[in-house]
Amino acid sequence: MTQTAAKRTAASVRQATARNGAPTPARRRGKVGQEKTSWTTMVILFLCAITVILPLYVTISMSLKSTSQAVDGNAFSLPAPIDFSGFAQAWELTNFPVAFTISLLVTAGTVVGTVILASLASYAIVRNWDRRFFRWSFFYLLAAMFLPFPVVALPQIQLTGLTGLANPAGVTILHIMFQLSFSILLFTAFLRSIPLELEESARIDGATTWQTFRQLIFPLLAPMSATVAIFAFLASWNDFMMPSLIIADSAQQTLPVVQSIFQTQFSNNYNVSFASYLMAMAPAIVVYLFTQRWVMEGVTQGAVKG
């Protein structure tokens, strides 16, 4: 009974926020003589775009060459004929399935952990803002934003070693903790914009705090959760510094660290090394292609919203 009431409110509000949630700044530049497409600008932008694409093109084309073709040093030539043996060798040499699974587990754990812990904490903080404990907790958690990882790296290496966390699980915990500040900042800003009347109607129907959060607030937070999740994903998937220092056993390393471990073994088999690089970067690019809007909005919200 109370559950359906909460859900119904959540659905209607979600529709409302979907309509108003993402304000698209109206752009009016109705200027005389400026209505035409600026082709000069476009040519310059296309030239700049090439510098973005070129390293990616080289990565793909090198990975599809045969070893003898890759070693001739011409990075920009097309692979002829296309040869997938680089991928097979990289897969075997770096034990790709293991590294991929570990990277995936660390990243998934970071994403889920960040979204859950940050949203719960933010909800508690915003709803009890008049209490000193919750207010101070907010600033305490936010302070980590001013703490660069290298500053705490040595003690963290020492402590994870002592507590049996010098492994991917330890890295997951640290990734979550370093994502908290940014995520709580986004969640609290969003929570403050949700009108309290909504919750009151659910409360009158007898919903507990947990039910209200689970069925009303958390669904409402979905757009912010998406942003938080994507940034947690990118930070965790691409991180090199932390896993390389924290994870003691090199057989349990994440994909970016594996690339550095196998540098010497790749030697001049450039097709193998580039196939390995491509397999390490592809998942993030694929995720980006499907979540472009959130990625772009997230950067702006993170920097400008307050």
């Binding site: 700044p25 775009a49 990075a75 290496i157 307050g306």
Partner: protein, 321 residues
């Protein structure tokens, strides 16, 4: 960690303002405490306290422990005793540490200027009247999602094979050798790859800034007969100055942590010419200099805090954006 994460820092200033107003969010409740306030539902503590505990164990304890050890002669294991500020005094005159600060700050300053100029101009282009706007923007953001060390390895290949090949075919002597092997030029490769990777986040913030400028301003400038360059310099730039400040500070803070890209390109070399502060600190783990490098890390922390305080003061002043 990666770039976008740190971009949030700027908004902390605005939040502090909001915090001081103390928004009171009471829910309809029946029970009150002595001061007449609604009693806090205990479950709120369950929402927050476990996170606080893990956070304290994972971040606060190591930070305090590290600063504590910086006043000892601890080598990472075994016995230790207090030695006061000895580590700090020694670090101040250690050429290796001073060189890493010199390199890192120089690198950060050059990179932040380069990145902001390019990102600003790209943002102006991407908000002008052009076709394929969304597609171009999507392409420019791609570098942001790629692992720093992996793309550094790709560039490593280009710098050591393709660029010298190009240089020798064009007959340019300094380009025909790998710049990674040249102690005077290796840092440039780190600037280039870092810029390549971090321009997207800066660019997106500038685009948001440019889109916030009302069209009327440009109409007025047109009526006054301002040309394109004049408009850019006297209208656009002053109006996005808040964004420029944010981008500069966030970028600078981020570049001070440079590590991944260096590992992928030069590994600190040739010699130690491109060794960053982070790399020097990490030598404390393998080199038996734990306490000594913690003194270094503590100094680095103080600098990071100082920059953050500066950032808060400036962004609070510019709360308008």
């Amino acid at each position: 960690m990666s770039t976008p994460v740190t971009t949030a820092a700027a908004s902390a200033g605005a939040l502090v303002d909001e915090a001081e107003h103390g928004k009171v969010d009471h829910l309809a409740g029946t029970r009150h405490d002595r001061r007449g306030r609604t009693r806090v539902d205990p479950i709120y503590y369950w929402f927050l306290v476990p996170t606080l505990v893990i956070f304290t164990l994972a971040i606060t304890v190591p930070a305090v422990l590290g600063i504590f050890y910086s006043f000892t002669n601890f080598i990472g294991f075994g016995d230790w005793e207090f030695i006061g500020f000895t580590n700090y005094v020694a670090a101040f005159s250690d050429p290796a540490i001073l060189a890493s600060y010199g390199f890192t700050f120089g690198f950060a300053i050059v990179t932040v200027l380069l990145v902001n100029v390019i990102a600003f101009l790209l943002a102006v282009g991407l908000t002008a009247k052009i076709r394929l706007k969304a597609g171009l923007r999507a392409v420019f953001v791609i570098p942001m999602v790629i692992s720093g060390i992996v793309i550094a390895y790709v560039f490593n290949f280009l710098f050591s094979n393709s660029v010298p090949a190009l240089g020798s075919s064009l007959g340019i002597p300094w380009l025909s050798e790998s710049i990674l092997a040249n102690p005077d030029l290796a840092w440039l490769s780190i600037v280039i790859v870092t810029a390549w990777q971090t321009i997207p986040a800066t660019l997106l913030i500038y685009i948001a800034g440019l889109l916030s400028i009302p069209g009327e301003v440009y109409e007025a400038a047109d009526i006054d007969g301002a040309g394109a360059m004049r408009r850019l310099w006297s209208v656009t730039l002053p109006l996005v100055s808040g964004y420029v400040v944010i981008n500069m500070i966030l970028g600078f803070k981020n570049y001070l942590n440079v590590y991944d890209v260096i590992i992928g390109l030069t590994n600190g070399g040739p010699g130690t010419s491109t060794r960053s502060i982070a790399m020097t600190i990490f030598t404390g783990f393998t080199g038996g200099d734990y306490a000594y490098q913690m003194a270094n890390a503590t100094m680095f922390f103080i600098i990071a805090v100082a920059i953050s305080v500066l950032q808060l003061r400036i962004t609070r002043g510019k709360a308008a954006i």
